[in-house]
């Protein structure tokens, strides 16, 4: 009590770091446990597929508009910016390759996942968080209904199914947007646009790898949203914080996973 011992303050700081570290690892473990349980109890979401269907509607179909509009603009901007650089080297026909490869390999899966985390992930977190706050989940357990099987698993599978579809749509619409800027507006030759694209985009190593990426992002984003909702403190503030955390953690996870997946795919 006399004066603050430097040793004590150092120990306090270390304690703080240790506490946060243990907390993080605990959350990671709890998330992994929820993921495992979701897989184990996901039989019902296929037996009663209309449960999953309803969730596909609210995560996938409702995200269609934002995905299509942003894909269109991303494709158009890519074509404009790419043309600016490519015409300096006299190879503006390569614009199709530039637009399609950057969309199919990178931007399609990644931007879709980021938009998905903002549009559908937050909705999932808020919904489940509110269910927990209003003790709907406890009520289900009282009625011997497993909330993981009834609430979590259908949302998980809906996210995993929706994400690749949305990412494929994003790539295709983006390429159409790039086509509209490149061919009618700028005046790149249409035949060269498509034929160079076809010569340089490989189905296996570009398109399929992009879909694999979006599948992984789908699992990650949906699982993070579900866990944050399931783990949210049952208060209004807790739910709002959990929603924010969903967006932040999903975005960082997607970008980190993207790097890892890309480097793995480069090796193969």
């Amino acid at each position: 009590m006399t004066k603050s011992n430097p040793l004590v303050s150092i120990i306090k700081t270390l304690q703080g770091i240790g506490h946060r570290m243990v907390e993080r690892i605990w959350r990671l473990g709890a998330g992994a446990r929820l993921f495992f349980l979701t897989i184990v109890y996901s039989g019902e979401s296929f037996k009663r597929f209309h449960l999953t269907m309803r969730e596909i509607y609210s995560t996938g179909v409702m995200s269609l508009l934002i995905i299509i509009v942003s894909a269109f603009f991303v494709g158009m901007v890519l074509a404009l910016q790419g043309y600016n650089t490519l015409q300096k080297y006299g190879s503006s026909e390569a614009i199709g390759v530039l637009v399609s490869l950057s969309l199919v390999r990178e931007l399609g899966p990644v931007v879709t996942a980021l938009l998905f985390a903002g549009r559908a992930g937050t909705a999932i977190t808020a919904e489940i968080g509110l269910m927990k706050t209003t003790e709907q989940l406890s009520a289900m357990e009282m009625m011997a209904v497993n909330p993981i099987a009834r609430v979590v698993a259908p949302r998980f599978w809906a996210g995993v199914i929706s994400m690749p579809i949305l990412a494929t749509l994003f790539s295709m619409v983006g390429i159409l947007g790039g086509y509209i800027v490149a061919v009618p507006l700028i005046g790149v030759d249409e035949g060269a646009f498509w034929s160079q694209m076809q010569a340089n985009v490989d189905f296996q190593s570009d398109i399929v790898n992009g879909i694999i990426k979006s599948l992984v992002f789908g699992v990650a984003c949906t699982m993070i949203a579900l866990f944050e909702g399931f783990d949210a403190p049952p208060t209004a503030e807790g739910v709002s914080r959990a929603t924010t955390r969903t967006v932040v953690i999903s975005s960082l996870t997607v970008l980190g996973f993207d790097f890892v997946l890309t480097s793995f795919m480069m090796v193969i």
Binding site: P164, I165, T168, L169, Q198, A199, F203, I207
Partner: protein, 181 residues
């Protein structure tokens, strides 16, 4: 929202996804052009394949007749061994000539086949004996510069009496330096 409406919308959603995937595969990817029916494969050894890649087209008279299957390095002969797959419908004589050409100045490289006059046709597993390497731009430029330099040398020797005649040769060499390579 009743169940039939949800079913309808999800059906539309999935159908859109399938259409987009098909569009990517057919219009953007090379799934259709990469499909050749029955093929037979032959090998050809090149000293330099340049930037030839697997899946590059094999053309004869400008028509795509096959695809490059694999490119390997033979450590005994220090040559690149290119395996190409040719459509079964097209047969080529045994003494066919294989070249590596470039589509355009900076385009992708492809294998060009020029038919010879042999009676016998190439069979599966045969080796094309007569090949020509890819053109390496740096090599060509250095050869060109070398020959130009020796030419100007000769010019200087033949007209050594008059110094004013040397001038055009000099301007020539500066022109070459400014050439847009």
């Amino acid at each position: 929202m009743d169940r039939t409406k949800i079913d309808l919308w999800v059906g539309v959603f999935v159908a859109l996804g399938v259409v987009a995937l098909l569009g990517l595969a057919m219009k953007v990817g090379n799934l259709t052009s990469g499909k050749i029916g029955e093929t037979y494969s032959v090998t050809a050894a090149f000293e330099n394949v340049g930037s030839l890649k697997p899946h590059a087209p094999v053309k004869s008279a400008g028509v795509a007749v096959g695809r490059v299957d694999s490119i390997a390095f033979n450590s005994k002969t220090y040559e690149a061994v290119v395996t190409i797959k040719i459509d079964k419908r097209y047969s080529f004589p045994k003494d066919t000539f294989a070249n590596i050409y470039t589509a355009g100045l900076l385009g992708e490289q492809y294998v060009g086949l020029e038919a010879g006059g042999d009676e016998e046709a190439l069979k599966n597993g045969d080796k094309i004996a007569k090949t020509q390497d890819a053109v390496v731009l740096e090599k060509m430029i250095s050869q060109f510069l070398f020959s130009k330099a020796s030419e100007t040398d000769k010019d200087v020797k033949s007209s050594s009496q008059n110094t004013s005649e040397v001038k055009p040769a000099e301007t020539k060499s500066t022109e070459l330096g400014d050439a847009p390579f």
